[in-house]
Point group: C2
Chain length 405, copies 2
């Protein structure tokens, strides 16, 4: 008998018919002689309705009250899911985050998990029940309702799997696994059987948003093996786990694309120590995450600093650069911002294989695609290119590394 | 500075605009230098929506899961009400039943309150905050979510008022007080300034459903003074409190009408000890409440037993009587059931005034209304009459006792 955690997102429990489907799938897992903990989100749309009512009453609602408000979405779903299971003859009991002993800090709307006691979940499982746990929520030491922020339900699922030492955590979503590239761009992209936590993290930060990194990091930290799979079919998904020796034979696991980046070029900076630090302090103060950074020396020994940010952050990044200039760094310096796309190849095999970068650049050159920026990590190489070239770049790279099915 | 508990029902918090109105009224009370605890119900309609989803998934939903489900209605309202108060610059914090330490037994969907610690409500009040408490809900010793059944939010309000020793508990509703008769039937009916708990209980059980008796009984037990008033205007309502000496000067406080009763006549029963006990045991076993009971001796020394039940219980009552006959009491006995209306006069002054019954019967006789059954308590006289005569009966009685404005 295995202990399986199954997490279903808002779309999978969007209405009573879909909740019934979820219950059917849980019943199949129970009938195959497994213990099951189900983690569910709020029905899709519910959270937005609640937020709309809150904003109608208060344009800047208190975060504590937002948590009180939003946590009702999951509480509704767990009760309905339990009822659907009962109707199929499956014993089941729902638990809120507080009841499951999901203890968090008090940072409302973005709380961090401190510990998980599990409450009486193990006792319920041993009594032959399915336990349905409300995702996204916890409670503070003083008994306040807290929520875990974006992607919180994935985190709840991974965390309860860790606490209960579950054999596997299945994340049901609207894609049926992690692919070598987005199948909408590369029709013969291949679904990966397994992938390491690190690759999953790099793919996510490179634009393949299957899951929030927070949940993946938690899984990595506690060694929770999880599977990303579809709630709409029974295909096996992609297993995410600690890197295995065999994985290194595969040089590149996938090609990721992030089309929502802006490149900012700050030119003619005085080339002296501390300039870069000052510039990026100003940007950090504006709460903007910087992705790729390249510095080089331009005319007259002045430095050019080029970096990329998420497109949504462009305005705040520009203000931060303006503040930096206002802060004494005037000179002849100026800056410009334009849209770019970031294409990345990810794979743990890069650590031990050479020539990966060369093959990447060759493939783009042969397609006449100009590279504007390059950045690398141990298991990733990213290039910034013109957005119009992005999809073609993904296709030629996918072919060059023979990732197709 | 007074401590005031204000309870608003589902209609009063039915949408964001009404929630804002509630917040305005609370702010007025705060601005008049009072501490305020607000108790709110679920938005009207929400509970029915939740029940509809539950029934779609399971025709007989588990009661524990129903409590988990239904308690989200109030949790939404408390958060929204707090946000509305914040928008008006009033410090406020919401609390669930569990957070307020409303400890109940484990009888899901109809839990009884065992104790109320109040949680940190006093501390919040002393810190200058309005506390918004979710009505209708509590939690069991093992931390399960429970609900208090019909009229539960009134009970929550009275109970928290008792626990906090509030100066008064205001029950805001869609009528603006307790009247000498239903103003739709008697246009010149008068709003009562004060009324005793006992009269309120008798009026409620006689068809004037302003509040559930459970909340009134709780108020009486703990001496909580409460006021029934309208959430749609600022008129003073009706104060309900312990009987005062001056109340006895008023013989009759009001006339109540219950049109939803059925009279059941069981004829030709053997007139021997134990027959009545056996009959009503059978009815009690069917979970049917009997209201008026009259026994008399008919032809050949056989007994006739006449009693009334709520119309909704007619079928179960008939089945119970049939079971009773099946249980050995055959003989020539038979039974019939027909609709009746019950008209009652209520007043603590009856205890010390004579001739009240005579005046009641006279007034009905002069209007040509036939009395089918009579029952009396210390502060109430009820008569069962034909439904078609009901409204006319209320009017002539109201006039006879000079209750008009």
């Amino acid at each position: 008998m295995a202990l399986i955690v199954q997490k279903f997102g808002g779309t999978s429990v969007g209405d009573v018919e879909r909740i019934r489907n979820v219950a059917r799938r849980v019943k199949e897992t129970v009938d195959a002689n497994n213990q099951v903990v189900v983690v569910v989100s709020a029905r899709s749309g519910v959270t937005n309705e609640l937020i709309a009512r809150a904003k109608a009453l208060n344009p800047h609602p208190d975060e504590r009250e937002m948590d009180m408000l939003l946590s009702v979405g999951e509480q509704e779903t767990i009760a309905l899911t339990a009822m659907a299971l009962h109707a199929m003859g499956v014993p089941a009991a729902s638990r809120t985050g507080a009841q499951a002993g999901i203890l968090t800090d008090i940072r409302h709307t973005r709380a961090r998990i401190r510990s998980i006691s599990g409450g009486d979940i193990s006792a319920q499982l041993n009594a032959g029940k399915v336990v349905i746990l409300a995702g996204f929520q916890g409670s503070s030491e003083t008994g306040q309702v807290t929520t875990l922020g974006r992607g919180g339900s994935d985190l709840s699922a991974i965390a309860i799997a860790a606490a209960l030492k579950a054999d596997i955590c299945q994340i049901y979503t609207d894609v049926d696994g992690v692919y070598t590239a987005d199948p909408r761009i590369v029709p013969n992209a291949r679904k990966l059987k397994t992938i390491s936590y690190e690759e999953m993290l790099e793919l996510a930060s490179s634009g393949s948003k299957v899951m929030q990194n927070r949940a993946v990091e938690f899984a990595q930290k506690f060694g929770v093996i999880f599977e990303v799979r579809s709630s709409f079919n029974h295909n096996p998904g992609t297993i995410v786990k600690e890197e295995a020796a065999s994985m290194e034979d595969v040089v590149v696991s996938g090609v990721a694309l992030d089309k929502n980046q802006t490149r900012i070029v700050v030119s003619d900076l005085p080339d002296r120590p501390g300039t870069a630090a000052k510039l990026f302090q100003s940007i950090a103060k504006a709460d903007v995450s910087v992705d790729m950074i390249v510095q080089n020396i331009g005319r007259k020994g002045l430095a050019n600093m080029t970096f990329t940010v998420a497109r949504d952050d462009t305005f705040r990044a520009e203000q931060a650069v303006a503040n930096f200039f206002g802060d004494g760094e005037k000179g002849a310096a100026h800056f410009s911002a334009d849209d770019i796309a970031k294409v990345s190849i990810v794979g743990v095999g890069m650590r031990t294989h050479t020539g990966v970068a060369a093959k990447l650049f060759e493939s783009l050159a042969s397609a006449g695609i100009n590279i504007q920026l390059i950045s690398t990590s141990e298991i990733k190489i990213s290039v910034a290119i013109a957005p119009d070239d992005a999809e073609e770049a993904v296709r030629v790279i996918h072919k060059a590394f023979a990732l197709e099915d």
